[in-house]
């Protein structure tokens, strides 16, 4: 689904409005994920969850919490440590009429399940000429910032976004994660739902109802005059924080959040860049062949290129495995100060 910039903006502001009206109920990102799962499971008996330690343990990051006690061991199904097996089981269950939600403890472990994700789930609908569907959601925490080092901290979203047939969602805030997850569960396709682990404890006003946020809609978080910042995952809140600092210096920036990498709603980004004339693209993942390279390409392939006042800039994670030492880990991915500095430099370039 593609929407215009205006629609996206109005959706974001609608969301803002409902937050204000229900502002008395502030819950965390993990609670919002759990609430979406519980509501989907209550509404549709085909929905069930499987994953490692999601039962009495409550999930490695506590996301499934009390769902085991509310829905029982059949539908909140603890599995052996067997990522390929459980993702494959989800594919088969989806083919046979269920709506599985798989939790993979760390998105890094999707590497163990890659055949089922890439060769099976993503391709079955197409390979069979549209005769079968694989409606499943694979939820996985991604990102650095927890001191868990190189095998528990990656941001692999570009891999998945590169595979036709997979939808890829990166919810950036508590306010939206529920609505996006409900849409992912509704979707007749396999959806990679990538939750940044630093966001789990963040909170915000979350609608009590079952409001969906359509996949494939870019959110405009902030509209400014000088620079279009595009960011994903935890980088969205870092950009918003940087925007406050920059505003104090007279640099007025937009912050756009694609929310879903596939399908991508690029038009709001192109429209905003056409207006500001400057683009700063921020991601946690390593820059080389990353998602923001795709955004940069979309800009230069569109008439937005004629409005550029300065070269497009990317601020990305370094091309390095995520290190353990806190000062090294911090240095490996963009931080608020770095975003502010990059924005200042970009203003000087034009």
């Amino acid at each position: 689904m593609t929407v215009t910039s205006q629609t996206s903006t109005s959706q974001a502001s609608t969301s803002q409005a409902s937050q204000t009206s229900t502002g008395d109920r502030v819950i965390t990102y993990s609670e919002a994920v759990r609430e979406a799962i519980a509501e989907a499971m209550t509404a549709d008996e085909r929905v069930f969850m499987l994953g490692e330690d999601i039962g009495v343990y409550g999930g490695a990051f506590g996301v499934s919490g009390d769902l085991y006690h509310r829905f029982g061991p059949e539908r909140i199904r603890d599995t052996p440590i067997s990522e390929l097996g459980i993702v494959g089981a989800a594919v088969g269950a989806a083919l046979a009429g269920m709506r599985p939600i798989v939790e993979i403890q760390f998105s890094d472990f999707t590497c163990q399940a890659m055949d089922q994700i890439v060769n099976q789930a993503a391709k079955i609908h197409f390979m069979l000429g549209g005769a079968a569907q694989v409606p499943m959601v694979l939820r996985a925490p991604l990102g650095s910032g927890t001191g868990a080092a190189a095998q528990h901290s990656q941001s692999l979203e570009a891999w998945f976004a590169h595979v036709p047939g997979l939808k890829v969602v990166m919810p950036s805030c508590a306010e939206e994660v529920k609505g996006l997850l409900l849409s992912a569960i509704d979707d007749p396709n396999p959806v990679m739902f990538l939750e940044h682990k630093l966001l789990y404890r963040t909170s915000g006003p979350v609608p009590e109802g079952a409001d969906r946020i359509p996949l494939g809609t870019t959110a405009v978080r902030r509209t400014g005059r000088d620079i279009t910042l595009v960011a994903t995952g935890v980088m969205v809140s870092r950009c918003l924080e940087a925007a406050e600092t920059l505003a104090g210096e007279g640099i007025d920036v937009s912050v756009l959040d694609p929310r879903t990498l596939s399908p991508l709603d690029a038009q709001p980004i192109l429209d905003d860049v056409s207006r500001t004339g400057r683009a700063l693209l921020v991601q946690e993942a390593p820059g080389h062949v990353g998602f923001m390279a795709e955004i940069a390409s979309r800009i230069v392939e569109s008439p937005a290129i004629f409005h550029l006042l300065a070269p497009i800039r990317r601020l990305c994670g370094l091309d390095v495995p995520i290190p353990y030492a806190p000062q090294l880990e911090t240095a490996a991915v963009p931080q608020v100060d770095g975003i502010v500095e990059a924005a200042r430099l970009l203003m000087k370039e034009s």
């Binding site: 539908r75 269950a93 269920m98 089922q116 060769n119 549209g130 569907q133």
Partner: protein, 324 residues
């Protein structure tokens, strides 16, 4: 338990299925050799009893997952020859509208959840389908076909483990044709039989003569009964042999002419024909009639499929994502 060669009706249908598989694969082999079919394919000629004996132990609403060598499974499960042929001929009317080809034929309506180009790829999917039926409270079962090579993939072990701990209604049907492409089971596994691997998962494992359609049917029927009554999965190892090479590039450098000739003498179709004629269940004329009918059916299917429209590049993108 009724045997497949006991009454004339069942014997005829069994023989029909095996001949349809044989004639279909001979036809596509020929079309390929004449340059009228592109891509690649993996023929199961010589393995017809394994596919047929297994699928004949299933109800219509039971499911299968298949392999890269899957034409026999599809046909034995009831697939339409014309739609299969159309798929291989890259036609819009094929099972996958020309998107999948030989390795991805599926017919979800008849419980065929799909062939698979990845060795072992279908095994966890079969476990998942079994899980779905268990959760839905229906007594369907799933057969997962795979070869000897797949039992060295992690996917096999993960899926069998899941099915065993959850007592899923799945039959793991290993067609041991002695070679994973060129690598023989003598080199690739360190146990006497693949069925022994079931012991690691606390489930029954049986080895049967895969060229004896009645023996396959009997073993699978027992496994199906077990699965359908909530007692969990079984590993059935069906010993058989592919007469043709692994795929189109195979020069048979890893096996001898004598070995191939020896297995041709164990032809599962001829063996069943002899059996039912000797039993007096079918006459020699009946057998000849079944064979001729299969030849005609395949020829008709190929002719009709060939006349169908080609898959259209204008529609190429329309099935990447499902729309509600």
């Amino acid at each position: 338990m009724a045997r497949l060669g006991e009454d004339p009706g069942t014997a005829r249908r069994t023989l029909e299925a095996m001949w349809r598989i044989r004639r279909f694969e001979e036809a596509v082999d020929d079309l390929f050799a004449r340059g009228l079919m592109h891509g690649t394919m993996h023929l199961s000629i010589g393995q017809e009893a394994s596919a047929t004996g297994t699928c004949f132990a299933l109800r219509d609403d039971d499911a299968i997952t298949s392999t890269h060598r899957g034409h026999g499974h599809c046909i034995a499960k009831g697939a339409d020859l014309e739609q299969m042929m159309a798929e291989l001929l890259a036609k819009e009317t094929g099972y996958c509208r020309g998107r999948g080809g030989s390795m991805h034929i599926a017919d979800v309506a008849t419980g065929n959840l799909g062939a698979n180009g990845i060795v072992g790829g279908g095994i966890p999917i079969a476990a998942g389908a079994g899980l779905a039926y268990q959760l839905q409270g229906i007594d369907r079962v799933v057969v997962s076909f795979f070869g000897d090579g797949a039992t060295n993939e992690g996917a096999f072990h993960e899926a069998v483990n899941l099915a065993s701990i959850w007592k899923l209604p799945v039959i793991f049907l290993c067609e041991n044709n002695k070679y994973g492409m060129s690598f023989s089971t003598e080199k690739s596994i360190n146990v006497e039989t693949i069925a022994e691997r079931s012991a690691a998962y606390g489930i029954p494992g049986v080895t049967v003569d895969g060229n004896d359609v009645e023996a396959v049917h009997e073993a699978v029927t027992t496994a199906v009964e077990r699965a359908r009554t909530g007692q969990g999965p079984t590993l059935v190892e069906s010993l058989t042999y592919r007469w043709k090479g692994h795929s189109k590039s195979d020069k048979n450098l890893y096996r001898t002419k004598e070995e191939i000739a020896e297995w041709r003498d164990k032809d599962p179709i001829g063996r069943f024909e002899t059996l039912v004629v000797e039993r007096g269940v079918l006459s020699a004329e009946d057998v000849e009639q079944v064979r001729a009918a299969a030849t005609n059916d395949v020829r008709d299917a190929a002719r009709r499929a060939n006349a169908a429209p080609d898959a259209d590049p204008d529609d190429l993108l329309d099935a990447v994502f499902a729309t509600a």
